[in-house]
Every structure is written in C-alpha cells, then in structure tokens.
C-alpha cells in the first residue's frame, strides 16, 4: 500500500498552495522593487533564499511564482476536464457511432502534436504570455481526459444499474451525468493530480524558453532562465526555483499515487 505517501504529498502541495495564497496579501519583500547594491546575496537571515541579479528577494519571488505556476496548471487542467470529460461521456454513450469515431480521431490528431509543439505554434501565432500557455497546456489535456472518461464510462454502460436507469426511461445524457460521472469521479481526480503536476512542469518549461508568463510577473521557469549564466557565480539563484518546481511536482505525484490507492476498491476491502 502506498498510502504512506499521502502525508508527505499532501504536505508539500499544501506548503506551495499556502505560499501562493499568502503571496496575495504578504511577501517578505516587494518582488517588483530592485535593490542593485544587494544583488546576488547568498542566503542569510534577512533574505533566507538570498537575492537575485537585481537584488530582489528570491523567497518572495518563489512565493509569487507559485501563484503563476499553480494558476496556469490548474486552469489548464480545468479546461482539459471541462471539455474532455463531456466529450468522453458522449463518445461512450454513442459507442461506435459517428460521434464516437469523430471524437476519438480528433483525439488522435491532438496526440500527434507533442504538447510543446502546440504551445510553440500558439505562441508563434498569438504571441507569448500566460494565457496562451494555459490554452496550449489545456488543449493537450483535453484528449487525455476524453480518452480516460470514454474508457471508464464504456465499462460502466454494460452494468446492471445503468440498464435499470435505461429501463426507467432516462436519456443517455442524463444517465451519463447522474450515474456514470459520479462513478468515474475518483479516476478523474487521480488523473487530474497527475495532469496538474505535468502542467506545472510544462508551465516551467514554457516560461524557461520565454513563451510563458512575461515580465514583470514572476515565474519559476523564467527565474531559472535568468539564472542560467549565474549558476557558477551564485548557485542559490538557480537552486531554489528548481527545488520549488521539483518539490511541487513531487508532492502532486505522491498525492496522486496515494489517492489512486485510496480509491482502489480492491485495497479498500483490504483496509476495512
């Protein structure tokens, strides 16, 4: 059983989530204020993560950067779910029909474009920025959820309780939302955590190459990009944002693993 990963996973996620939320009302230093005389200070009691090449407090920037990362990844997963899940439900409800075929082939098409390529194309056409990063990551999430929903829903459509609902005269759409969706919700939550962590990585990669959130909005990926030439001079500038990404993603993955085991009916029986 992997439930022991629940506590460290949830704890890590909670830390970064609260850092992001607290940053709205308080950060140790103002992240927009430059303090050139104090640039590249190593970690100290005043600046616990040190300062960057413009004298900004890295701890404060990581707090605000958490906001950007989490918001972009969260909205992108939301888009993926809101569009992908209904598509998957529709495909499963009309299995083998033209709609099913159309939805699944469109999914294949999106899968043919690696996520990063979609992002690059979108930014090439519409310009870089946080919103376009969200759209790019969101588009890639749609087929992930559509496919998962379709597969899980298909196995439910042959069950007796669905048959009972059909005999009772319920329409396919109503059955999908009233009976299928609640039964696959746990699967979607687990996949949601995984996609969330992939979204954080994707956002970081996009801002690193300059296609994500634009200055002055702090983002972990851009902090790393700006620190690249300073790694040997002031390693802390590159280490802390990197660890922030690593720990957030690790926390989400551990949480996802724990949730998967939690929801697994076979393990549930073992527990009781």
């Amino acid at each position: 059983m992997k439930l022991r990963t629940l506590v460290p996973g949830a704890l890590l996620v909670l830390i970064f989530l609260s850092a992001a939320l607290v940053s709205f009302i308080w950060t140790p230093f103002d992240v927009t204020k430059l303090d050139i005389p104090n640039k590249l200070q190593p970690p100290s009691l005043v600046h616990c993560f040190g300062t960057d090449q413009l004298g900004r407090d890295i701890f404060s920037m990581i707090m605000v950067g958490a906001r950007t990362s989490i918001a972009v990844a969260f909205i992108a997963v939301g888009i993926g779910m809101l569009v992908g899940v209904p598509l998957g439900l529709a495909a499963a409800a009309n299995q083998g029909s033209f709609i099913d075929e159309l939805i699944m082939r469109t999914n294949d098409l999106v899968f043919a474009f690696p996520a990063l390529l979609i992002a690059i194309m979108i930014t090439a056409v519409f310009g870089p920025g946080a919103v376009n990063a969200i759209i790019a990551i969101g588009i890639f999430n749609i087929p992930v959820f559509a496919r998962l929903t379709r597969g899980a829903a298909l196995s439910l459509w042959s069950r007796e309780f669905i048959l009972a609902a059909r005999v009772a005269g319920k329409r396919a759409a109503r059955i999908s939302f009233e009976h299928i969706l609640p039964n696959i919700l746990n699967l979607l939550i687990v996949q949601g955590t995984i996609q969330f962590s992939l979204g954080i990585l994707a956002e970081a990669a996009l801002s690193y190459i300059g296609l994500g959130a634009q200055p002055p909005i702090p983002s972990w990926g851009r902090m790393l990009a700006e620190s690249q030439t300073l790694v040997s001079l002031a390693p802390h500038v590159a280490l802390f944002p990197g660890f922030a990404i690593l720990l957030t993603v690790l926390g989400l993955n551990l949480l996802g693993d724990a949730l998967r085991d939690w929801f697994d009916p076979r393990l549930q029986r073992l527990r009781s």
Binding site: R105, D108, L109, A112, F113, P114, A115, L116, L117, I120, M121, T123, A124, V125, S197, L201, A204, A205, Y208, I209, G221, L224, S227, Q228, V231, S232, P235, A238, P241, G242, I245, L246, L247, V249, L250, N253, L254
Partner: protein
C-alpha cells in the same frame, strides 16, 4: 495482417492530412504579408508584386495549401522568408544534431531503465526496490532543463570535462561529436528513464505472477534464469510501446534542451524563426515533427500487432 496494415496506413495518411490542414490554417491566421516583411517597408510596389508571385502568395489559399503539400511530398519545403534559402536545406542541416541527440537520449534512457526496472522487480518490496522506486519519483518530478543546468555547472564549469554548450561538428570525428551531445542527452533522457523504469518494473512484476513462470521455477530453473529466459520476453511488449511513445517526448523535449546547451538543432531553428516571424520555417519543422511522431506510433502499432496476433483481428 494485410487488412490491418491497410487500415492503419489509411489512418496514418488521414491524420497527417488533417494535421497539415490544421497547421496551414493556424499559420494563416497570423496577420501580415511575408513578402512585405522580407523586403521591408520601403519596398517598391512592383518588386513586392514580383516577390509575391515568386513565393506563390498571389494564389488563393486552397491553391497555396496544395502547393505547400505537394511541395513537401517532393522534399521542397519552400523558401525561408528571412534567409531566402530553401527550408529543406536548413532543416536537413539542423537535423544532424536533433536526431542523433534524440536517439542518443533514447539509448541512455533504455540503458538506465532496463537494468533498474529488472533489478527493482526482482527485489520487490525490499530496500533495493524502494530505492529504485524513490529515484524514479525524483526523476519524473525534476524539470529536465534545470537538471541540464546543474549538469553544466558541475561537469562543464566546475570540473571542465565537457564544453558548456555549442556543437563542434561531426567533421571533428564521431567521438568528439558524441561527447558534446553527452550532457544534453543525459538531461533529456533522465525523466524518460524514470518513466521507463517504472513501466519495466510493473510489467515484469505482472509477468512474474504468471503460471508459466511458476512452471519454470518448478522445473528447477533459478529465479534469475527464469526471468531472463521467459519473463523478459513477455514483459517487453508494453515496454516497447512506451519506448515508441517516448520518441515523441524526446523529440519535443530536445527543443528545450538545445536551448540550454545552445545546440544549433531544430529547436533553436524554431525559436529563431518565431522571433523573426519566419513562419514558413515554423510550419515546416512542426509538420516534420508531427510526421515523425505519427510514423513512430504507426511502427510501434505494427510491431505490436506482429508480436500479438490478437490485435490484428480485432475490430
């Protein structure tokens, strides 16, 4: 098998066709006229018109799509708006970095993942298994461009074993070329190796509980030789599928890693082209990468059907 082959081939061609339409339409949304972009704001109207005719910009959109499509099939990707050189030649030149980098990373990923996965599976529940599984958690969570930066600062700047970026060229010899691709390939391979290790481990664990494995042990085979003789071959099928899928992740991931190491590959070409609004290059590179991804998926499907006959007859 022939029926299956035809069906998959049709789907491959259709996917590529639709992808090319989507790509063409997306790029068409971009405002501005490439010809006036190439000649600058002081261009004469007649010169502009001549260039538009030369580039085929005076034709209708469907005509231009057709021209682009048929051109690509003959290896003609058009002319770069910025450099005025054939796009195909530019891509060909950059390909000699991106493709070896991707294959190198795939090799490293396999070399790490297979032994690690087999080791973890054969020590299930023990400390060795826990250590490998823990490492894969870290490997999946680490951003590869950050890992690349750390590799550069340690092995290139601190120890001075490698150059911190750039590419010397293959004409210096194969080993010299491979050496300058080694750090980028390791950085690119790490997250994929972690995923592949997990798949190898779980796939082998599934196989280990099969009846034929028990039979092998019962007839006196040691655990090790039972794994090597019977276990691995059966466990390889899902692993190979993932390996095929990873090709596309590596190819796309190479775009970012090339940026860390300043490698003049396809990734750097794409970024330059975006910065210079040289959209025909972006269009062609993306189409080429999509083609590579679709082709590899197709080949994996085919290999899968060849290994597992049940898949050929289904639907």
């Amino acid at each position: 098998m022939l029926h299956y082959l035809i069906k998959r081939l049709t789907s491959l061609v259709l996917t590529l066709l639709v992808a090319s339409v989507v790509l063409f339409v997306t790029i068409e949304i971009v405002p501005g006229d490439p010809a006036s972009f190439m000649l600058g704001i002081n261009a004469q109207a007649e010169t502009l018109e001549a260039l538009r005719t030369e580039l085929g910009l005076d034709k209708s959109k469907p005509q231009r799509y057709w021209q682009w499509l048929t051109g690509m099939l003959q290896g003609d990707f058009g002319k770069s708006y910025t450099y005025k050189t054939p796009v195909a030649a530019m891509i060909g030149e950059r390909m000699w970095i991106s493709l070896p980098l991707t294959l190198f990373a795939l090799l490293i990923s396999t070399l790490i993942a297979f032994p690690a996965g087999i080791y973890a599976a054969s020590r299930r529940g023990r400390i060795g298994d826990a250590a490998v599984t823990g490492m894969t958690q870290l490997g999946v969570a680490i951003p590869n461009f950050w890992f690349a930066m750390l590799l550069v600062s340690f092995f290139a700047i601190k120890l001075g074993w490698f150059s911190s970026g750039g590419f010397i060229g293959w004409d210096q010899g194969l080993l010299v070329g491979l050496k300058s691709l080694l750090l980028p390939a390791i950085a690119l391979a790490l997250p994929q190796a972690a995923i592949l290790t997990r798949v190898t481990r779980s796939s082998l664990l599934d196989v280990l509980s099969e009846d034929y494995m028990r039979t092998a042990r019962a007839k006196g085979m040691s655990k090790r030789s039972a794994i090597w003789r019977h276990g691995l071959r059966n466990a390889m099928i899902p692993v190979l599928t993932i390996l095929g899928l990873q090709f596309s992740f590596l190819l796309a991931g190479a775009i970012i890693i090339e940026k860390v190491f300043y490698l003049p590959g396809l990734g750097l070409l794409v970024f330059q082209s975006i910065a210079q609004r040289d959209l025909i290059v972006v269009e062609s590179v993306v189409m080429l990468l999509v083609f590579a991804v679709v082709l590899v998926t197709f080949l994996v499907d085919l290999a899968y059907a060849w290994v597992d006959p049940r898949l050929r007859t289904r639907s």
